[in-house]
């Protein structure tokens, strides 16, 4: 039967696939024997058009995946560069100076049950293989929707700061050279990590203030200071997810304002808010998961929802457009209408920024031009289940 099948294939092939080729006429030399065991590698520095697509696999959380995707290519075969796993709603952070990607994840000895292990897995970007693991205190780490403000590099990329929520909140410092935990700093009433110079970080607090903690060279706490309250977390909440340009974090609010906060290495300094829409304009509001971004031109991006402003419960629904602002002039410089809908986006680095957006309707990702706002292409079928968070490669 095999022989018969091969004859059929040969017939079809010669007559259909290779009409001009006849086996009898002086065939070319045979294909050489190929080596086995070859594993591909990647460049240490990923090009700007590469993104990390964090598929938390909401229906199979222990099998989360992070895909490395070249968004400049047309086909899945050319787009997919590699993948690594991230288990149980973890968080990641690429640190280009180290050629490494930090990955916080959780395992149970029997998959969904048994002993719990929380670890920092360190992947090298060339081999996309784990090169080190740092055990973390079990049960401490923040386990929720992916965020940009859960992991942060400090001290010239020598330290990794990890936000914990158990639900008491703290920040764990890992020495990335020594591959060990050096300190855990309680930040009661405050959450997340906002870079604030090389030797301090800030957090946002339930009472509407910013906490700033400065560190000694050994990772111990040098000092802490709270700002004045600048928002009301009950009645006028901010999102915890700011766009960031230089020393200023731009925190969007549930009702379409922006609160700039200066993070210059000194204690965080909230500044006067300004609105994302002009008087008489439609009152949109940010909404979604990854709602915030910025580019190397100094512009800030927000995912905007036409119906979320003033409607309780709409702040995570996603949006129909991405709006781009010049934070200096406070003017909107670009609207990017999405093909269908957006849940999460990320902006690439470089002077020709591209915007990658998760379309939650079909769970594809879609690429847009950050300068023209034009739709470029849809990328899908690479194995994703729920691409909840996106990262431009660094």
């Amino acid at each position: 039967m095999l022989q018969r099948f091969l004859m059929v294939v040969a017939f079809v092939s010669v007559t259909v696939i290779m009409p001009g080729f006849a086996v009898a006429e002086d065939p070319p030399p045979p294909l050489p024997v190929e080596p086995t065991g070859i594993i591909e590698t990647l460049p240490k520095r990923y090009p700007p058009e590469w993104f990390l697509i964090q598929d938390s696999a909401f229906f199979h959380m222990s099998d989360g995946k992070v895909y490395v995707i070249d968004t400049s290519k047309e086909t899945v075969g050319d787009q997919v560069q590699g993948m690594f796993n991230n288990s149980l709603m973890g968080n990641i952070l690429q640190i280009p100076s180290r050629g490494e990607i930090m990955s916080i994840e959780t395992f149970h000895s029997r998959g969904t049950r048994g002993e719990r292990i929380d670890v920092l897995t360190i992947w090298d970007t060339v081999n996309l293989a784990p090169v080190a693991e740092v055990m973390l205190n079990s049960g401490d780490r923040f386990m929720g929707m992916p965020q940009r403000v859960v992991l942060h590099a400090l001290n010239d990329d020598r330290w990794l700061a990890i936000f914990n929520f158990s639900p008491s909140t703290s920040v764990t410092l890992v020495d990335l050279d020594q591959r060990e935990v050096i300190n855990t700093i309680a930040i009661p009433g405050c959450s997340f990590i906002y870079g604030n110079g090389e030797m301090s970080f800030s957090s946002v607090c339930a009472d509407g203030r910013m906490l700033s903690v400065s560190l000694n060279a050994d990772g111990t706490e040098r000092s802490r200071e709270h700002s004045e309250p600048f928002f009301d977390s009950d009645d006028a909440p901010i999102f915890e997810r700011p766009a960031r340009v230089g020393d200023i974090a731009y925190f969007p609010t549930f009702d379409g304002q922006v609160h700039p906060v200066a993070l210059t290495g000194a204690p965080a300094k909230p500044m006067a808010p300004w609105p994302l829409y002009g008087q008489g304009e439609e009152a949109w509001a940010p909404s979604g998961i990854g709602i915030d971004g910025e580019d190397d031109l100094g512009r800030i991006y927000f995912l905007m929802n036409p119906e979320a402003n003033g409607v309780d419960g709409m702040h995570n629904a996603g949006g129909a457009e991405i709006w781009v602002f010049d934070p200096e002039t406070r003017k909107r410089v670009q609207r990017i209408p999405l093909q269908e809908w957006g849940l999460t986006f990320a902006v690439s680095r470089g002077t020709e920024p591209k915007v990658l957006v998760t379309n939650p309707i079909d769970m594809s990702v879609e690429l847009y031009d950050g300068l023209s706002g034009d739709f470029v292409r849809k990328i899908t079928g690479f194995g994703q289940e729920t691409p909840l968070y996106l990262w431009g490669s660094r």
Partner: protein, 173 residues
């Protein structure tokens, strides 16, 4: 109340008009620390029992995302997973740490305090994903957030589904 994840299972309707209203986002439950039998920390009046000839009333199906108790829920409904609105499916463990919502029961006109206890220890149930973010705040308000995995204080951090337990009548604000 249309969670966007429903779209994974019914991909026919794709026009923006149908997708732009009250789309939900998937997340897990949030909240304040409430022991399995502790008094909730939010203002709560314990409901009276047996107070007259009429019986307490509810209506609606606890497998519908629109069900009144689910006003602040975010997750897979345990009533679609082998549990019910207030019980966990077989073999799971109910989280003692919960996120509390205040929901209005249209059948008796009262507001109730609802405890959204997660059931933990198996991987996601996957049925009846329901997201209603009413009153939700970012995780910097742990007492009001449903953006995180509330399988805290359980043997396993694996989230399976979410319940909505009546823990009292809410005081009027």
């Amino acid at each position: 109340m249309t969670a966007f994840f429903d779209r994974l299972f019914e991909k026919q309707a794709r026009n923006l008009a149908q997708t732009s209203s009250r789309r939900g986002m998937l997340k897990k439950l949030g909240g304040v620390l409430v022991g399995a039998s502790a008094v909730p920390l939010l203002p709560v009046a314990r409901a009276e029992t047996g107070a007259g000839p009429r019986k307490p009333v509810e209506q609606g199906s606890d497998t519908d995302c629109d069900y009144w108790r689910y006003c602040a829920i975010d997750g897979f409904l345990c009533s679609c997973c082998g549990g019910s609105a207030n019980t966990c499916p077989p073999g799971t463990e109910m989280s003692p740490v919960t996120w509390i919502g205040t929901c209005h029961n249209p059948a008796d006109g009262r507001n109730y305090v609802i405890s959204y206890n997660d059931c933990c220890g198996k991987s996601t149930c996957g049925a009846c994903l329901c997201q209603r973010d009413e009153g939700d705040r970012p995780p910097y308000r742990p007492d009001k957030t449903n953006d995180i995995n509330w399988c805290l204080g359980t043997a396993s951090a694996s989230y399976h589904c979410s319940t909505a337990v009546v823990v009292g009548v809410a005081f009027d604000e």
